[in-house]
Amino acid sequence: MASVPVEYGLILAGILFILGLLGVLVRRNIIFILLSIEVMLNSAGLAFIAAGYRWGQPDGQIMFFFILAMAATEVAVGLALALQFYNKTRTLDTDAASRMRG
């Protein structure tokens, strides 16, 4: 079985991370921001798995499970926040929630 070089995995993870990051920075819709965070989390997970594969260690996969669990809780809390946010402001635009500005 031909093995995929570890650099490929890392590069893919990096691309995904930057995509997610740009999404967080650019999008104003709170749902899309959550989505982008999810992409960033998964890219980090991918990097872990690639690295674990490279060193022949199970640690990378274990870390991925942690990330998975964290992402699940993040979604739960984040969606609840989004719902509350929408109920309060009748919009999903995060810039509307700027009452705490200096």
Binding site: V24, L25, R28, I33, S98
Partner: protein, 632 residues
């Protein structure tokens, strides 16, 4: 020996009472509070008396017993111990402190009954008794200093006990600050002693001082003068006497215990305890005598013009401590301690009697609004009369006579004495009788002006009676040669203090001195009778002449000391403080404030409230951190 082993309990019991009362606050019932407060002092008294009997019955080797509890600290060569020393001097002190202390606690349990700060009062009082016992039992000067500051703190707390009145707080602060001047001098004295002699353990210190310093040594003089400074502050002697009359703002039992019987005599004790230093510095010792003589006269004249009954007693206390200093100054150490003992009895009695009058007349302090109280308060009148007679040193029957006579005799006959000191003492004795019986006549004789609302109960009467008995029989342990020549007290004191060195005096000379000392009080009482009972109108006319009223005002204000201190010290200090408020030292701190405010004004713009901008901030931070890690 078993009795001596309990020595530590004597100060520990009042401290325990303080801790219990302080921790439970006002949750205990008043009866329980009184039982704990007075009980701890009473138990301490019982142990003291038992120990005293044991001590006199079979004295320990060297006439002193030292109980080392533990080493306080060990820093380099400095190892002060928590150790108590029992000898004739400290035994006399703790007996008076615990006995008078217990009686005043008992009195307070009724006197303070209506007060909301009942448990606070007893907590402070117990703390005071414990600190005072630590002071007199301490085996080294550091522990003594701890007790010294402890009693100062309690004095402050109790003068300002009714703190809701701002005047009381002012009086408390004044007492604290003025005594602090003396305490600072004493602290410097301790540093000096330790640096030069290398120890603070009193006996060791005295021995080294004797070995290293000759008579008239400058170092000994400096150390003695600094310790004297502490004593002057605590004992309210010239020039630090101004706090004591104002200290009367506290409750009357406090004045009786702290500002008459015990704490204010701590200075006398300190000088007696370190008498070796003072013997090595004849100049300082002479100063002690002169200060005592001047103080007793000045305070006597001031007492003569006061209208507040407690202020009369306060000036009288200053004056009587002046006698003790006079005795110390001429080397009659044991005479000073003897007068301390009798003074504690009769002055506490007088204060407690005054307390009954004040309480009975709804907090009336002005003697001119009292009068004719002898029928309404018969027991208080008789005990007060005994106390007044003892204070005036009425010959033969009172304790005050024997102690004062001994001091006057020593002032003349001692090596360090002089006829001038004796004359000042004699004039003071006349003055004492005069102002004391002025007070008695104004309060208890003449026409009745008010009705007594509140009659004293048993808890007040018992201490009065016991103290009255002590004010009479307390002096019979020491009589002059012509009256049997008993020397029980001084003989006992000589086990701890050196005897007074008297110049040879013919027996007739001694007799003449005694006659004169015995005549002064009756003459004073007679003058008081003439001026304040028989023809009070003359007195009023005399006081209303221009010079008379000027003199009256001058004496009334305590010889203008407060005025002088206000002009010389307080006002310049306040002026300097006002000017100093805006000095350049503040600039760095003000600059910090301005810089902080400016940066805040800038940074506030970054707080847009938009989540995305914060995310950008995080990203930039992360990139910077990462590049720092990679490239540096």
């Amino acid at each position: 020996m078993i009795m001596f082993k309990l020595l530590w309990l004597i100060p520990a019991l009042p401290f325990a009472g303080f801790i219990i009362l302080a921790l439970t606050g006002s949750r205990l019932t008043r009866t329980r509070t009184a039982v704990i407060g007075a009980g701890s002092a009473g138990l301490s008294m019982v142990i003291t008396i038992l120990t005293g009997i044991r001590f006199i019955g079979s004295p320990p080797p060297g006439n002193a017993y030292v109980q080392v509890l533990w080493t306080w600290m060990s820093v380099g060569g400095f190892r002060p111990e928590i150790a108590f020393r029992l000898d004739a001097l400290s035994l006399a002190m703790i007996t008076v402190v615990t006995a008078v202390g217990f009686l005043i606690h008992l009195y307070s349990s009724e006197f303070m009954a209506g007060d909301e700060g009942y448990s606070r009062f007893f907590a402070y009082m117990n703390l005071f008794v414990g600190s005072m016992l630590t002071l007199v039992l301490a085996d080294n000067l550091l522990l003594l200093y701890l007790g010294w500051e402890g009693v100062g703190l309690c004095s402050y707390l109790l003068i300002g006990f009714w703190y809701k009145d701002t005047y009381n707080g002012y009086a408390a602060r004044k007492a604290f600050v003025v005594t602090r001047i003396g305490d600072t001098a004493m602290g410097i004295g301790l540093f000096l002693l330790f640096t030069v002699l290398g120890t603070l353990q009193i006996q060791e210190l005295m021995q080294r001082a004797l070995q290293q310093w000759g008579s008239g040594n400058v170092m000994a003089g400096a150390a003695a003068a600094l310790l004297l400074g502490g004593a002057l502050g605590k004992s309210a002697q010239l020039p630090l006497q101004t706090w004591l009359p104002d200290a009367m703002a506290g409750p009357t039992p406090v004045s009786a215990l702290i500002h008459a019987a015990t704490m204010v005599t701590a200075g006398v004790y300190l000088i007696a305890r370190t008498h070796v230093l003072f013997s090595l510095a004849p100049l300082v010792q002479a100063a002690v005598a002169v200060i005592g003589a001047v103080t007793l006269l000045i305070a006597g004249f001031s007492a003569l013009t006061q209208s507040d009954i407690k202020r009369v007693l306060a000036y009288s206390t200053i004056s009587q401590i002046g006698y003790m200093f006079l005795a110390l100054g001429v080397g009659a150490w044991s005479a000073a301690i003897f007068h301390f003992m009798t003074h504690a009895f009769f002055k506490a009695l007088l204060f407690l009697g005054a307390g009954v009058v004040i309480l009975g007349l709804h907090n009336e302090h002005n003697m001119f609004k009292m009068g004719g109280l002898r029928k309404q308060l018969p027991l208080t009148f008789w005990t007060f009369l005994i106390g007044a007679a003892s204070l005036s040193a009425l010959p033969l029957v009172t304790a005050g006579y024997y102690s004062k006579d001994l001091i006057l005799y020593s002032a003349w006959a001692s090596e360090a004495g002089s006829p001038l000191l004796w004359a000042a003492g004699l004039a003071g004795a006349l003055l004492t009788a005069l102002y004391t019986f002025r007070m008695v006549f104004l309060v208890f004789f003449g026409e009745e002006k008010t009705r007594v609302e509140r009659k004293p109960g048993m808890q007040i009467k018992i201490p009065l009676i016991i103290l009255a008995v002590l004010s009479i029989i307390g002096g019979f342990v020491e009589t002059p040669a012509s009256l049997g020549g008993l020397h029980i007290f001084t003989k006992f004191m000589y086990t701890a203090l050196p005897p007074v060195v008297n110049l040879p005096l013919p027996a007739t000379g001694e007799f003449i001195l005694e006659i004169e000392a015995a005549l002064a009080p009756p003459i004073g009482i007679f003058i008081a009778y003439l001026f304040f009972l028989y023809r009070p109108r003359y007195t009023g006319r005399l006081a209303s002449t221009p010079s008379g009223s000027a003199l009256h005002r001058f004496w009334f204000s305590g010889w203008g000391f407060d005025w002088i201190y206000d002009r010389i010290i307080v006002r310049p200090f306040l002026w300097f403080a006002r000017i100093d408020k805006n000095d350049f030292l503040d600039l760095p701190y003000l600059g910090t404030i301005w810089a902080g405010k400016g940066v805040n004004r800038l940074l506030v713009h970054t707080q847009t409230g938009k989540v995305r901008w914060y995310a950008v901030g995080i990203v930039i931070g992360a990139i910077l951190a990462l590049s720092a890690m990679v490239f540096l």
